[in-house]
Amino acid sequence: MNFKASINPETIGAFSRVLALLALALPAVFWFSRWANRRLSEKWSSHQGMLASKVILYGGVIMIVVTLIRELGFSIGHILGAAGVAGVAIGFAAQTSLSNFISGLFLMAEKPFVVGDVITVGATSGAVLSIDTLSIKLRTFDNKMVRIPNETIIKTETTTATRFPIRRVDLDIGIAYKENIARVRDLLLDVAHQNPHVLEDPEPLVHMVGYGTSSVDLKFVVWCVREDWIKVKNEMYEQVKDRFDLEGVEIPFPHLSLYKGEAMDPIPIQLVEPAPNPRKPRAKPRARSKGKT
């Protein structure tokens, strides 16, 4: 091949256009993508900003690549024909990716959560860091990053803990059978009213759950704003325990009553002197023996 012969004004022009395209268009696409992300995140949400930024980035890069191919003198039709044949093979290989991609589109349209929400998918809970074309990234509460494919999100029950502004805190309380339930209910409601983070409306409620093996089981429900949920849960358990201790309300531990034959008659227990340990001989009272000699 004659290299010198191929260098003509037309080739130099095409080469210059390719260089100019790479030098100007590519940085412009990256800049525009970042700008859209920033502006749209401020105006709408970080999720929408990220989505728009990726559409601009991928769309821009595809346009640049197509233009480059044409500038270099290749036929797009031939390339697309070859790509069609290869596409069948790639399609089979990329089934999972395609499924994740399409699931990602559904996620973006449905918006069950946005970046920053706290969600639970299966056994994994965490804050959503990003919603990408193939997967979402979660930051768990022990600071690990978890990547969950979009297809899994679509197929699995997903709980968004931070969707609504207020949340309910459920507290399971057990009291001894001897306690007066109405009095305990009043005490619990008073504990809730004393905590300024507990919402007055919806008002706190105490429900009787049933008779447990060792306790009368109550459910104590209070409401708070979602940001206070952990704090209120901790504070309420602590304050209920303190109040019960102060008022002499017993929180029973699991216990078992044994009866001998007849119902309701307890087994008689007689306290006796502790038996001497055969392995440990009793110490001789030396002083007394000395005194006797």
Binding site: E200, H207, C224, V225
Partner: protein, 256 residues
């Protein structure tokens, strides 16, 4: 003997020894060591033990000679129950008064003014005004709104808020709770009693949304009053917001 200042009276900078000031449930402890201003605040209610004061220190770069304590409304709306439920037939109107606990803003004043802190004079519980999926976080005020009210100079940290309600809808309006957008209210002082400007609420019946207007002017009860504090947010325009609710609407719909 230590001079006792009334709550909103300006006072000189404190000395090395902590100087207490009690306003409602709030006890402020101040001291000045010649270079730094120290402040601790403790909220004490009849049912809680006073907590240990936690001191905060402000290094001062300028000379200040006076401490100013100024009243202002809370930073969020307040929800208040009416003394008895009020039923307003279409076209009728009423005027009620609610008492609202105030906040205090502490400034150091010299050639310039340095805002140190804003704090509530009473510990107020949170409450939610709206539905489960949307609403407003507000403070709960335990005192009830009444149709007649007397000034209470013994509690200078409580302001009286007049509310004029007109039912412009074609249905009866039952009022049990009112959400007062106090951050839009101005504060006036008359004879040791603090008053707000009047809130005028027009109920139009559309999804319980009301038109709320704050005049920013003195009311008929406070014609000789002084403006003490402007509203926290501009109240030039009317707003449309949910203002009334029936009691326990949220609570009754709770399912376990």
């Amino acid at each position: 003997m230590t001079k006792v200042f009334s709550p909103w009276e300006r006072r000189p900078l404190p000395g090395e020894e902590p100087r207490p000031t009690v306003i409602g449930d709030l006890t402020l402890l101040e001291r000045f060591d010649g270079r730094d201003y120290w402040l601790a605040r403790v909220h004490t209610t009849s049912k809680t033990e006073p907590a240990e004061p936690k001191w905060l220190r402000w290094p001062l770069n300028e000379d200040y000679d006076t401490v100013s304590l100024a009243p202002l409304f809370p930073d969020r709306p307040v929800v208040v129950e009416t003394e008895v439920p009020i039923c307003l037939t279409p076209g009728s109107q009423t005027r009620i008064f609610a008492r609202c606990p105030l906040w205090v803003r502490l400034d150091l004043v010299g050639r310039s003014q340095l805002t140190i802190d804003e704090m509530p004079c009473a510990v107020l519980s949170n409450t939610w005004f709206g539905v489960f999926t949307d609403g407003t976080l507000a403070y709960w005020v335990s005192s009830r709104a009444q149709t007649r009210i007397e000034p209470d100079p013994a509690r200078p940290w409580m302001a009286i808020c007049p509310v004029h309600i007109r039912n412009q809808s074609e249905v009866e309006l039952k009022i049990e709770r009112i959400c007062l957008r106090v951050e839009r209210l101005s504060l006036f002082a008359q004879d040791r009693q603090l008053w707000s400007d009047e809130t005028r609420v027009a109920y139009r019946g559309l999804d319980k949304i009301s038109s709320i207007e704050n005049s920013g002017q003195r009311t008929q009860e406070t014609s000789d009053s002084l403006l003490v504090a402007p509203p926290r947010v501009s109240a030039k325009e009317n707003i449309a917001a949910r203002t009334f609710s029936s009691l326990k609407t949220l609570s009754q719909s709770i399912a376990l």
